[in-house]
C-alpha cells in the first residue's frame, strides 16, 4: 500500500538541527491495522501527518500505491489524498456551524459529487453508524463519543483505502473508546487499511502490528 524509505524531517532552532523524524523506514500492506505508539514528542503525529500528506518531509522517499509522493506537485498530492485517505482526530474537529449531516457531506462537496449522489451516500453512512436521528443536530449538541462517530463517518464517506487516526479515543471515556475501536476493527475487516496513533496498550492491541517511536526513530 505505502512505503517510506529513509524519511527525515527537521527544523532549525538557532544553528541546531532538531529532528522530528529520523530515518524512518516503514512499509504498510493493504489490510493492515497498525498502531503507532511512543511517548509525547516522539513524532507519532508528525509521522501520521507525513503519511497523510498533510505535512512535508525534508529527505527520503514516499511511495503510495505506486505513486512517488515525494516527486508529486502539491495539486497531484491533494488529488491522491482526496481519493484514498481519511483522517480522524483526537479533538474530532467537526465544523461547529454545520449539522451532522453537513459535516459528513463536506468532503463529497469538495470532490464535486452531484447532490443526489451525495444524499444517497450520506444517508447510507448515517444508517451504517446508526445516527440517522442525529443528522440535523450540531456538534455542540452531541456527546464526545457521538462527535467522534461523526468524525469517523466523515473520514469514511469518500470510501478511503487508508484511514489515519490521531489518538481517536484520547478525548473519550473508556466505553466510548471501546465502541470506536470495535468500529475500527470492523472497518479493517471490511478491507480498510488503518494507521492509528495511540497511548493506550489496550487500543493498540486491536491492531495487527505495533510500531514504537522514540525521538523520531522507529524502535526495533
Amino acid at each position: 500500500m505505502l512505503e517510506l524509505k529513509g524519511i527525515f524531517k527537521w527544523y532549525h532552532s538557532g544553528n541546531n538541527r532538531t529532528f522530528l523524524l529520523k530515518n524512518i523506514d516503514l512499509s504498510v500492506k493493504v489490510g493492515e491495522f497498525i498502531s503507532v505508539m511512543g511517548p509525547s514528542g516522539s513524532g507519532k503525529s508528525t509521522l501520521l501527518n507525513v503519511i497523510g500528506m498533510l505535512d512535508t518531509f525534508d529527505q527520503g522517499e514516499y511511495h503510495f500505491l505506486n505513486e512517488s509522493v515525494h516527486k508529486l506537485k502539491e495539486k497531484q498530492r491533494s488529488i491522491l489524498y482526496k481519493q484514498y485517505i481519511g483522517f480522524v482526530f483526537q479533538a474530532y474537529h467537526l465544523l461547529d456551524e454545520l449539522t451532522v449531516y453537513e459535516n459528513i457531506e463536506t468532503p463529497l462537496i469538495y470532490q464535486d459529487i452531484k447532490s443526489s449522489e451525495r444524499q444517497a451516500m450520506v444517508a447510507d453512512m448515517l444508517d451504517r453508524f446508526r445516527i440517522v436521528g442525529k443528522k440535523d443536530l450540531f456538534p455542540a449538541q452531541l456527546s464526545g463519543g457521538q462527535q467522534q462517530l461523526v468524525g469517523v463517518a466523515r473520514a469514511l464517506i469518500a470510501n478511503p483505502k487508508l484511514l489515519l487516526a490521531d489518538e481517536p479515543t484520547g478525548n473519550l471515556n473508556s466505553k466510548q473508546g471501546e465502541e470506536i475501536m470495535e468500529l475500527f476493527k470492523e472497518l479493517n475487516n471490511d478491507g480498510v487499511t488503518i494507521i492509528q496513533v495511540t497511548h493506550s496498550e489496550k487500543n493498540a492491541a486491536y491492531g495487527s502490528r505495533i510500531i514504537n517511536l522514540l525521538d523520531g526513530s522507529i524502535e526495533h
Binding site: 498533510l54 482526496k82 482526530f89 467537526l94 453537513e102 468532503p107 462537496i109
Partner: protein, 806 residues
C-alpha cells in the same frame, strides 16, 4: 455547491453576530453616506443639463483691466455684443440677452414685488434654451412689443386658476400681455425667472441704447454656436472683436476689455465672474464634499478588510478541517468570497434603505427639492451597485486569500492560526488602520478649518454697524411725485424716540453695491471702475462708518444736474485704485464719471459691504435724490419690538399706498450671505461624524479581536503583578501609536487641502497651531475611548479563567 456556501456563510455571520453587525453596519452607513453625497453632487453638477443644445450654448462674460489696475470680471456684458457677434461670426447661430430689472408688478388689486425674477429677454432665447411651453409656443410669443411670457407658478400667483393668456400685467407704467406660459423653471437651471418681457420693448424704452451701447454692461448674453463651430477658434477671434468695436475707447481710456466664451455647464459651479446670477458661482467646495464621500467609502471598506482579516484568524481551525476534508485553495477562496458577498449585499441593501429613509431630512437640510435628489435612473443604480460589488469583491479578496492559504496542520493544532501570521500580516492590518485614521484626520481637520473660517467671517468686525437695523425697501425708481411722501415718512420715523436714526441709500451692506460706473481723474483719460452708492447725509454716521480724510456729506447737492459739481466720498480702496498713497491726497481731486463732474470731499474707511468671501471694492458715495433711494435704514432701540414694527408698517402703508411693505433686519440679511457656507459646514460635519463613527466601529471590532487574542498574555501579566493602568496602557498605546503615524501623514495633506480652499475667501483665517493639534487630539480621545472599554474589561477579568482553558 453554492447553496452550501450560502448556508455556511449565513451561519457564520449569525454565529459571530457582533462582528457581522459591526461590519454590516459600518459598511451600510458608508454606502448610505456615499450615495447621499453623490446624489447631492450629481444634482449640483446637473445644472442646465436639460437644455438640448447645452453643448453649443456659451455665455459671453468679460473682463476689464485698467492699465496698472486690478482686473474686474463681469458675468454680463454690453448689449451691443450680441448683435455684433451674430453679424461678425458666421459660427454664431443665435444670441440672446437678458436684462434683469425689478419692481412692482400689478394685476388688479395684487401688487407683487418681482425682485430679480423679471427679465427683458430676446425672443431668440426660446431657440437657444429648451424651456418648455405649457401654453403658447415660441412662434406665438414676443411678436408684439408688450408681450410677456410667465411661468406656470407665476400664472397661478397672479391669476389663480384663470387662463393667463391675454391677461395684462402692469409694470413700470406699461401693460404687458401674457402670450405664453412656460413650465416652471427646473431647480437645476442657473437662470431663474418668473416673468420674461420682450427685449424689443426694452430697446424702445431705452431709445436704442439697450441695443447699441458699448459702455452699459448689465446684459447677460448667451450665444448658440452652429453644430460644426469650433468654440476655441471663436474664442481666439474675440480679442480682435474687442479691438474692432472698442479699440479707440480702450486706447483713450488706457484700459483693456476682453470678452470670453463660458460654456453653459460651467456657469453654476465654475464661474469666477462678479455680478453672477444668484446661486451660481465657483462652488469649489463641492469638490471637497466629493473627496469626503470617497473617504467615507474607503474607510468603510478598510473596516471590512480589517475586521474580516482579524476575524479570519478565528476561523483557521475551520480552514484546516476543510482542507483535511479535501478542500482546494480555490474552493476555499470561493467560499469566503461568497460569504463576504453575502455580507456586502446585506450591507448594500441596508445602506440603500438608510439612504432612502434619510433622503427626506437631508433634502430639508440642504434645502433642495427631494425629487431632484432622488435619482430614478436605473443606469445610475446599476452603476452604483456594480461599483459597490466590485469594491466589496476587492475588499473581500484579501481576507479570503489569507484564510485559504493557512497550512491545515498548523491551523488545526493552533487555534490561534499558523505561525508567522500574527506578526507579518499584522503590519498590513495596521497600515490599513493608519490609512483609515489618516482619512479621518483629514476630514476632521477640514471640518475644523472650515468651521474656523465660518466663525471668523461671522464674528469679524465688519467696520460697519449692522445691529438693530431694520431696512425698508422701496421698489425701483420712483418719479418725483414721491418726494413729499418720502420726506413725510422720514419725518414720522425720526419723530419716534424708539428709532435712533433714519437714513436712506441706494444699497445697504449685506449685498454688493448695485451699480457701477467708470470714473477718471480730471486731466487723465484712465477709467476706473467703481461701485456707485447713493446716500443721504446721515448714512455715514448711522452706519458707524469713519471718515479718515476730508469731510462727510452735509447739504451737498444730489446728483441731478450734470452741470453742477457733484461732491462725493470715496473709500480707501478707491483711493488706491486712483493711484493715491494717502487718503488725504485725493481730497479735493476732481473726477469725471457717470456724466457728472465730481469732487472728492472725503474718504471713508474701508468696511465689509459684503461677505468676507469678497475683497473690498472701490466705492464712490454720492448724494442722491430722495426718489431714487431704494432702502431706508432704521436703527431701532426699543423694548417693545412688535409695537414699533406695527407703527412702522402702519405709517408705510398710509404714506406709500402703492408700495408693498417689505423689510428685513440687516444682520440677518448679512448673515444670509453665509447660508451656503453654513450649509456646507453642517453637511461636512455631518459626514465627518459619520466617517468617524465608521472608523470607530472598525477600531472597536479590531480591539475586541486583538484583546481576545491577547487574553492569555494579559492574564499572565496580571498574575505576575501588572496593574490595571499598566495593562490598559499596554493595549491602548498600540493604537495611539497608529494615530500618531496617521497624523504625520494626514496633517500635511489636510494643510494643503484647507489652504487651497481658504484661498477662495478674500479674508480668511490663517491656519494656526490649533489646526495641527485639535484634529489629532480629537481622534486620539475618540479612539482611546473606543479601545478603553475593551481594554478595561480585559484588565479586570479574572486571570485564572483565561489560563485554565489553555
Amino acid at each position: 455547491m453554492f447553496t452550501n456556501y450560502f448556508k455556511t456563510a449565513w451561519r457564520n455571520l449569525w454565529k459571530n453576530r457582533t462582528f457581522s453587525l459591526i461590519n454590516i453596519f459600518g459598511l451600510s452607513i458608508g454606502v448610505a453616506a456615499f450615495l447621499m453625497i453623490i446624489n447631492y453632487l450629481r444634482f449640483e453638477y446637473s445644472y442646465d443639463d436639460a437644455h438640448l443644445k447645452k453643448d453649443r450654448i456659451f455665455r459671453v462674460p468679460m473682463m476689464l483691466k485698467e492699465n496698472g489696475g486690478k482686473e474686474q470680471t463681469f458675468a454680463f456684458t454690453y448689449p451691443a455684443v450680441a448683435p455684433s457677434m451674430i453679424r461678425d461670426f458666421p459660427e454664431v447661430e443665435e444670441a440672446a440677452r437678458f436684462r434683469r430689472v425689478g419692481g412692482i408688478v400689478t394685476y388688479g388689486d395684487q401688487k407683487i414685488v418681482e425682485a430679480g425674477s423679471l427679465f427683458y429677454a430676446d425672443a431668440s432665447m426660446f431657440n437657444i434654451f429648451s424651456f418648455r411651453f405649457a401654453k403658447g409656443n415660441s412662434a406665438s410669443v414676443f411678436k408684439e412689443l408688450n408681450d410677456a411670457v410667465i411661468t406656470e407658478e407665476t400664472a397661478k400667483k397672479y391669476f389663480g386658476i384663470a387662463d393667463p393668456i391675454g391677461k395684462a400685467l402692469h409694470y413700470n407704467g406699461e401693460d404687458y400681455i401674457v402670450k405664453g406660459v412656460l413650465e416652471n423653471v427646473p431647480a437645476n437651471s442657473h437662470i431663474r425667472f418668473n416673468i420674461l418681457l420682450n427685449y424689443e420693448k426694452y430697446i424702445q424704452l431705452t431709445e436704442g441704447s439697450a441695443n447699441t451701447s458699448w459702455g452699459w454692461s448689465d446684459f447677460y448674453t448667451y450665444v448658440l454656436l452652429r453644430p460644426d463651430a469650433d468654440a476655441n477658434a471663436l474664442k481666439a477671434k474675440l480679442p480682435a472683436f474687442a479691438e474692432r468695436y472698442m479699440g479707440d475707447d480702450m486706447k483713450k481710456g488706457n484700459y483693456e476689455n476682453s470678452f470670453f466664451l463660458q460654456p453653459l455647464k460651467d456657469i453654476h459651479t465654475r464661474s469666477r465672474y462678479d455680478y453672477e446670477m444668484a446661486g451660481n458661482g465657483d462652488l469649489g467646495y463641492l469638490r471637497y464634499l466629493g473627496i469626503a464621500a470617497l473617504f467615507i467609502l474607503f474607510i468603510a471598506w478598510i473596516n471590512y478588510v480589517n475586521l474580516s482579516t482579524a476575524h479570519s484568524l478565528d476561523r483557521s481551525k475551520e480552514v484546516g478541517i476543510r482542507k483535511v476534508a479535501g478542500a482546494g485553495k480555490f474552493q476555499l477562496i470561493r467560499q469566503f468570497l461568497t460569504e463576504s458577498l453575502l455580507l456586502n449585499i446585506i450591507a448594500i441593501a441596508i445602506g440603500i434603505l438608510i439612504f432612502r429613509f434619510t433622503l427626506s431630512p437631508f433634502s430639508n437640510l440642504v434645502e433642495k427639492d427631494i425629487i431632484y435628489l432622488n435619482i430614478t435612473d436605473w443606469r445610475f443604480w446599476l452603476f452604483m451597485i456594480i461599483l459597490f460589488l466590485l469594491g466589496s469583491l476587492l475588499a473581500a479578496f484579501y481576507p479570503a486569500f489569507v484564510l485559504s492559504s493557512f497550512q491545515p496542520i498548523y491551523s488545526i493544532k493552533n487555534a490561534k492560526g499558523s505561525p508567522g501570521l500574527a506578526g507579518g500580516k499584522n503590519v498590513f492590518r495596521k497600515s490599513l488602520v493608519v490609512l483609515q485614521f489618516t482619512a479621518a484626520i483629514v476630514l476632521i481637520a477640514g471640518a475644523i478649518g472650515f468651521y474656523e473660517q465660518l466663525h471668523y467671517m461671522q464674528t469679524r468686525d465688519l467696520g460697519v454697524n449692522i445691529d438693530q437695523t431694520l431696512v425698508l425697501q422701496q421698489s425701483g425708481r420712483q418719479d418725483s411725485s414721491i418726494v413729499p411722501a418720502f420726506t413725510s415718512f422720514i419725518n414720522e420715523m425720526e419723530a419716534n424716540p424708539a428709532i435712533q436714526s433714519v437714513t436712506a441709500s441706494t444699497s445697504v451692506p449685506g449685498s454688493e453695491v448695485g451699480g457701477s460706473s467708470n470714473y477718471s481723474l480730471r486731466n487723465s483719460s484712465v477709467d476706473r471702475r467703481c461701485r456707485n452708492l447713493g446716500i443721504d447725509n446721515k448714512f455715514i454716521d448711522a452706519y458707524g462708518l469713519t471718515i479718515v480724510a476730508g469731510r462727510n456729506i452735509t447739504n451737498d447737492k444730489p446728483a441731478v444736474d450734470t452741470n453742477v459739481v457733484l461732491n462725493i466720498l470715496v473709500n480707501e480702496t478707491a483711493v488706491k485704485v486712483f493711484g493715491f498713497a494717502e487718503p488725504a491726497s485725493i481730497v479735493g481731486q476732481e473726477i469725471d464719471g457717470s456724466g457728472f463732474h465730481c469732487k472728492v470731499i472725503g474718504v471713508v474707511k474701508d468696511y465689509h459691504q459684503e461677505s468676507l468671501q469678497y475683497s473690498f471694492d472701490p466705492i464712490v458715495f454720492y448724494p442722491e435724490e430722495e426718489r431714487n433711494f431704494g432702502n431706508i435704514s432704521l436703527k431701532l432701540n426699543t423694548n417693545d419690538l412688535p409695537l414699533l414694527m406695527d407703527f412702522i408698517k402702519n405709517k408705510w402703508t398710509t404714506i406709500f399706498p402703492a408700495s408693498p411693505y417689505r423689510f428685513f433686519f440687516l444682520n440677518e440679511r448679512f448673515d444670509a450671505q453665509y447660508k451656503n457656507d453654513k450649509l456646507f459646514a453642517t453637511v461636512l460635519w455631518l459626514f465627518t461624524i459619520i466617517a468617524l463613527v465608521i472608523a470607530c466601529l472598525g477600531l472597536f471590532g479590531l480591539s475586541l479581536f486583538t484583546i481576545s487574542k491577547r487574553s492569555k498574555e494579559i492574564s499572565i501579566r496580571k498574575v505576575l503583578g501588572a496593574s490595571l493602568v499598566q495593562i490598559t496602557s499596554l493595549i491602548t498605546k498600540d493604537y495611539l501609536k497608529l494615530v500618531i503615524i496617521a497624523s504625520f501623514l494626514a496633517l500635511p495633506l489636510a494643510f494643503i487641502l484647507v489652504n487651497n480652499w481658504l484661498e477662495d475667501y478674500a479674508f480668511h483665517v490663517s491656519i494656526g497651531i490649533w489646526f495641527f493639534f485639535l484634529p489629532v487630539i480629537i481622534i486620539m480621545v475618540i479612539s482611546l475611548f473606543t479601545v478603553l472599554y475593551q481594554s478595561l474589561k480585559a484588565a479586570l477579568a479574572n486571570p485564572v479563567k483565561n489560563l485554565r482553558t489553555e
